[in-house]
């Protein structure tokens, strides 16, 4: 596939992620922060996000699996997840976290469990999307092209 084609694919793909709400303006900020001194900045940050999120999801699963759920603890984890997701612009994950926290506040175990499931789903979705995106970028770079900057009206 020609570089130009991959580039176009990348652009379209990225735009779709924004349109579908997977990513928000924060992701663009990250891309803008990337420069020659740190060409893998976005990938690094997102990788950190993946690591931290997976740990948090595990903790959440364990915490909600307890006989006596410690909602404060659960809330703490969700709060962290919310923060992390906001850092890379994982909008849908963040939104679920908001709902999740509300359930924690009222100590609604069912609501929490539902949210846990949702947040996992959203997380894996966005992870998948981002990995695809990075792969496209890698392809472009490997073919000697440059990664196009997405212009969006954020």
């Amino acid at each position: 596939m020609e570089v130009v084609q991959i580039q176009r694919r990348l652009v379209d793909y990225t735009k779709s992620l924004f349109m579908e709400g997977f990513l928000d303006g924060q992701f663009l900020q990250l891309q803008q922060l990337q420069d020659e001194s740190n060409p893998d900045f976005v990938v690094e940050v997102v990788s950190l996000f993946f690591d931290d999120s997976e740990k948090l999801l595990n903790e959440l699963t364990i915490a909600l699996d307890q006989p006596n759920v410690d909602f404060k603890k659960v809330d703490g984890h969700v709060h962290q997840l919310k923060g992390s997701s906001s850092s890379i612009g994982a909008q849908r994950v963040k939104n679920v976290c908001i709902a999740f926290r509300n359930f924690c506040e009222v100590q609604n175990i069912e609501g929490c469990l539902t949210c846990l499931q949702q947040v996992k789903q959203e997380y894996y979705l966005v992870k998948n999307k981002l990995e695809t995106l990075f792969r496209l970028e890698q392809q472009i770079v490997a073919s000697g092209g440059s990664i196009p900057m997405i212009e969006m009206g954020f």
Partner: protein, 559 residues
């Protein structure tokens, strides 16, 4: 874990670049992102993910950081506790961050002393402005001390200026010793807790003047002066500020018989705090490296206009200012009548000031125009300075502006209102402004005063001539003296203290809060209301109105 540590010397001429930021966040992604963003702002960043770690770092290097940014939720220690510790032990500005923007939490942050509360996701532009908090803090830190110095120096340095009553001198003398001690201490330890504040004692100032004379007014520049002065701990920045202040003072001196109002200073120093100190933002004259953009709701535009030195100016300041010092009388009875605060006693004898006056190289050009909100158009007095006052207070201030005013030297704009011959006395009245940090001649009494600034200004002009005379010059203008002259009858000049602050920017006692001045090439004078009187309604920079107010001094007054 500390990702990186960059300890460098405090502030360089490139401020805010080089600002040393400590980021405390346990979220690795945010930590990384913030670090990147801050670096893009040319700040020096250190990150850590534990609050205790942060405290250790801060304690190890007391002077190693300028500002702390911390997340509210930290695993080991509550962010608010960290905030308290930092505030108490290190007295650094702390910005809180959180993904949670609940008002309650934000309020808690502010209550615990956070100077700002940022919501995640944080944008780069928010981080760009954090230097303002550092600057503001510096200014406030020194303000009280400066006032003491200024009041003292006013009395001791300007002996040749007549003091209205013996009280001035005596009280001045009394303070003198205390001040001397203080200045000595400062001189001896320039990097004392109040960082970067240079106290320009008479001796230091003499050296300065000598250096200037040697170089020649035309060729003078901070670097050259610094070299000649041979004061190891002094920075070029300090000299530059002083130079600007001197320029301003020279004007003042020429135009006004400054007088130091003793009683007021006394009060002011006492911390009644109601004096509005004028803050001068001194710019690095030689390179104008410092530029601020003034932005605040009240004063959207601050334009520095060049003024001719020989224009007649109005010195704002209700009080007679001593040479080179700005002091404003604070007529407010409840407040100490702090008066003029001489510029940081850096002014040496009158002669030296006069000498400086001959600096031709200094540009008087920039005079910030302060626009009064209420005015439809900026009141330009001659060189125009428009004063922007808080809503509701503006007019008074305007009235004070005399029109043909010599623009105050760009540097320190100390708004002093002095009745000048044919000049208008501008009295900063910042009553209401008190609560604001930055106030420049806030019309303190504005309340209830008519707001016809423009008209008043002109009225003032016509009336000032009568006013000015004997009372004002060169005596200390007391509140009572001014009252009749107030434009709006009865407006009393609030405790405005115009002070020339010598020293570098950080030493300036200007309440630049949230003072975002772009295009300031010269220091702007910002009268500051001693808000501490009011138990600090610290205003976020958003609330700041442009405090800069330029008063021009009427040269003719003292010609």
């Amino acid at each position: 874990m500390v990702v990186e540590t960059c300890f460098s010397s405090p502030r360089t001429d490139a401020f805010p670049a080089g600002l040393r930021v400590l980021v405390v966040d346990d979220d690795r992604t945010w930590s990384k992102i913030l670090e990147k963003m801050l670096k893009k702002c040319f700040y020096e960043v250190t990150t850590c993910c534990l609050a205790r770690e942060a405290l250790n770092l801060l304690r190890e290097r007391k002077d190693g950081y300028d500002i702390v940014i911390s997340d509210v939720n930290m695993p080991d220690l509550d962010g608010f506790k960290l905030l308290e510790h930092v505030g108490l032990e290190m007295d650094l500005p702390v910005i809180m961050m959180s993904v949670d923007g609940e008002t309650r939490r934000v309020m808690k942050g502010v209550q615990h002393g956070a100077c700002d509360y940022l919501l995640k996701p944080i944008r780069m532009k928010e981080l760009r402005n954090i230097w303002q908090h550092v600057f503001r803090k510096k200014i406030h830190e020194v303000r009280d001390i400066e006032i003491i110095h200024m009041t003292r120096s006013g009395s001791e340095l300007f002996d040749d200026v007549h003091f209205l009553d013996g009280q001035d001198t005596t009280s001045g003398r009394k303070r003198k010793d205390a001040d001397n001690k203080h200045s000595d201490k400062d001189l001896g330890d320039p990097s004392s807790t109040k960082k970067a504040r240079v106290v320009w004692t008479v001796d230091l100032h003499q050296k300065f003047v000598k250096a200037v004379n040697q170089i020649g007014f035309d060729k003078v520049g901070p670097k050259k002066i610094l070299d000649l002065m041979n004061v190891p701990w002094l920075t070029r920045e300090n000299v530059a500020s002083h130079l600007q202040a001197a320029e301003g003072r020279r004007h003042e001196k020429l135009c006004i018989g400054m007088k130091h109002s003793d009683s007021s200073t006394k009060d002011s120093t006492a911390g009644s705090g109601l004096h509005n100190s004028m803050n001068v933002m001194q710019d690095n004259m030689s390179n104008g490296s410092f530029s601020f953009s003034v932005s605040n709701s009240c004063a959207p535009n601050v334009d520095l206009k060049g003024h001719e030195g020989d224009r007649k100016g109005i010195t704002s300041g209700p009080m007679a200012e001593s040479r080179g010092t700005f002091s404003t009388n604070i007529p407010d009875p409840r407040k100490a009548k702090s008066l003029q605060i001489s510029s940081d006693h850096s002014l040496g004898p009158v002669d030296s000031v006069v000498n400086m006056a001959s600096f031709s190289s200094f540009s008087w050009n920039e005079i910030p125009e302060i626009q009064f909100k209420q005015e439809d158009e900026p009141l330009q007095l001659d060189d125009g300075f428009n004063q922007q006052s808080l809503p509701g207070l503006p007019h008074r201030m305007l009235t004070e502006y005399l029109q043909p005013a010599v623009s105050v030297s760009p540097g320190p704009s100390i708004t002093e209102k002095v009745a000048t011959s044919g000049g208008i006395e501008v009295k900063p009245r910042c009553d209401k402004y008190r609560s604001n940090h930055i106030k420049h001649s806030c019309p303190t009494e504005a309340v209830g005063e008519s707001h016809t600034l423009n008209n008043q200004v002109f009225e003032l002009i016509s009336t000032t001539s009568s006013v000015k005379s004997p009372d004002i010059i060169p005596n200390r203008l007391t509140e009572s003296e001014f009252s009749p002259r107030n434009l709006n009858e009865g407006v009393v000049v609030e405790d405005l203290q115009l002070c020339w602050l010598q020293g570098d920017c950080y030493a300036m006692n200007f309440g630049l809060q949230g003072f975002d001045c772009t295009e300031f090439n010269n220091a702007a004078m910002i009268p500051e209301t001693p808000f501490h009187l009011y138990d600090e309604p610290r205003f976020d920079h958003e609330h700041l109105f442009d405090p800069t107010e330029y008063y021009t001094i009427d040269q003719g007054l003292f010609a």
